[in-house]
């Protein structure tokens, strides 16, 4: 199977800071790839660089054989990328229904996906009329993931889906992500190594703005030394 997304040696600056200094990631079609690394290593910036929110100054981003770096963010997203940002970024003043509706790229996207989305997150159906600000953290996270599912996306960029959630909700989130990876490819940032190792088939470790190691998750789980060296966890 070919790679849906290839990030080739990108360098990204935020202001004058050289945040990414050569990140290379390959995401095979239909797989879940996890970006691992310490806080501030540049995992979130990598996701944002793919979307052009922090456009890379050098390097290439290839989606489905097409170079997408240098395009405008909305253009890149409209090619079929869904984004679930850190801290969810749901729209507080919009109702749950509006939060989903706004993600439509074609008229009726939401109606077509409604069943699938409420199948994954039955809670949302009950909350459909509430404003986003009234949701709990877990519900907001579900909404953020659901929002990325409304249009037909080939690739989902998910940033820290388990952050700040109760274990029960994390469990539910993992089931959902596993399920939806059947239909689209996922590039995941996850601090919680246990969650990441259960979800992802492949991993890429990012250290101080560089991708330093990548491979199969199954191999990493037994490689205590690498885990200790780069992730600081046992």
């Amino acid at each position: 199977m070919g790679n849906l997304l290839e990030i080739r040696d990108i360098h990204t600056f935020i202001g004058q800071f050289h945040i990414l200094q050569g990140v290379t990631v390959e995401v095979p079609e239909g797989s879940i790839v996890a970006l691992l690394g310490r806080n501030g290593a540049g995992k979130t910036t990598t996701l944002k660089s793919v979307l052009g929110l922090t456009p890379p100054r050098r390097g290439q981003v290839i989606l489905d054989g097409q170079a997408i770096h240098g395009r405008r963010s909305f253009d890149i997203a409209a090619m079929g990328i869904g984004f679930v940002p850190e801290h969810r970024a749901i729209f507080r003043d919009l109702s749950v229904a509006e939060n989903l509706k706004i993600a439509e790229r074609k008229k009726g996207d939401f109606e077509r996906k409604e069943e699938m989305i409420f199948g994954l997150f039955p809670d949302l159906k009950r909350l459909i009329k509430l404003p986003g600000t009234n949701l709990s953290g877990g519900q907001q996270q579900m909404l953020a993931v659901a929002r990325a599912l409304v249009p037909d996306n080939k690739l989902l960029l998910i940033d820290e889906p388990s952050e700040g959630l109760a274990p029960v909700i994390i469990e539910q989130m993992m089931v959902a992500i596993k399920k939806l990876s059947a239909e689209s490819t996922v590039l995941l940032v996850e601090q919680n190594f246990i969650v990441a190792s259960k979800l992802a088939e492949r991993y890429v470790i990012i250290e101080e703005g560089k991708s330093v190691k990548q491979g199969l998750m199954a191999d990493l789980v037994n490689d205590k030394e690498t885990i200790h060296r780069y992730l600081g966890a046992a």
Partner: protein, 518 residues
Amino acid sequence: MGELLKKNRTRLITLAVLAFMFVTAVQGMETKDWVITVLRGLSVGAITFLVASGFSLILGLMNILNLAHGEMFMIGAYVGWTVYVRPDTFVDVIAPLAFLAVGLILMPLWRVLLGRLNVSARVAQVWPWVGLVVALLILAATFVKFPIAIWDAEVYAESPTTYALGMSQGLATVPEAAVFEGISPFVAIVGTLLGSIVLAVSLVGLSQREQTAVSGTYINKGPIIGAALVLLVGLAAFWGNNALTEYLYNMNTTGRFFLSMLVAVLGGGVLGMLIETTLVRPLYERHTYQILLTLGLSFIGIEVVRAIWGRPEFTMPKPDLFAAGGGDCPATSIGGWLANNCSTILLFDGRVRTYNEIFIIFVGVVVLVAIWLLLQQTRIGMIIRAGVQDSEMVEALGINVQRVFTFVFSLGVGLAALGGVLAAPSIGLSPAMGTRLLLLALIALAIGGLTSFPGAAAGAVLVGLMQQFIIKYGQIGINIPFMAEPFKPSPPLVPASTVLLMVIILLVLPNGLFGRSE
């Protein structure tokens, strides 16, 4: 429900206290005075709201403090005045502007065509500038030669003041039509079209110098149809110039007034679009520069208006529908007013002016409802509300936020321009009218909550009421216990009172009535 009450306790108490204050004011004066004062307050509030709502939408969505917003209000008033009092000038201006716009509307087409050309980098650095110079030379030889019948602000007999006076006395005469001198009309039209195309192509070249990726490689039908329509409008205005001028002069003034409102709104919208796409867009991330830019624009706006319309203040006569007196006036019912075009109407035995206190409020309410519907019921409104909170995330959903920015900026400027033309028959025109009103709008926004739409409405109404009640008390005095004479607030206390209201409300609610803490 109970939780909702608890959360908003301070806000509700504040609103109740304010409402109580304005209602109990009726004790100190006659009922009819109170009614008139409230209506005047609402009228000032409606005008303030038109400026404040656009300002707050722009601030909320784009994080831009548009300090030139007051000048947009002023320019709306002057443009509306011109259409209303000197329709011949308005008709003369349509054709050249339409021809100039044709090339610019076709910009997306030039972008695609240029993207297909392969020009070496060095040539690409130079040719746009050459093109720009050529375009300006062509336009200087043709565009500016279009004949425009205009007033002369320096000569009293031909100044805007005189024309306004003449019209209000029913003495409006059609000034002599201007004719082409030293250039054939055909050359002027073709030259302007050519100059406009060269200008647009050069501007596109200028913007593409550093862009690596080409966005949009297919040709859209929209701009071509638009350009064709504008070209037709220009040609029609050129050939039908005299007929159109005559038609507008013979139209009844109410119809012409509505036309001038429409032109002011559309003109404001186009002006806003131009400002946003050319000046504001390069400065999205640089807030200090934005403030300098909009402050500079406001000075430029004032000076341009002074140069064209002159320094002195002048009036805009009220349209016929609101102008008649005597006979069956003041009217006792809405029907009576509409039948006799009364300038006043009796309400609780008080004379209420139909234009100032009824029509302005009516338009304000219509706009309030229209924008509310736009924000709540349409997709673009939903995108605006979402963008106010997090425009980056909206962009990440695949929505072109920049286009929404342009729309909102143009909507805001259009609303301010509508406010200007609406206020002009009531307060007259002066180059300083915008600055004064922006100050009032800013106070209203601080009271209501800077980026809240209901806040803009509530703040504007409160400011208007406060101002008008203090003015009224300045005439009749407030009885204060243990004071021998009633206290009469002096005129300087009028603006001070609105600031005082703002200070008190901000002490109780630091984010304003409807604002949310960030």
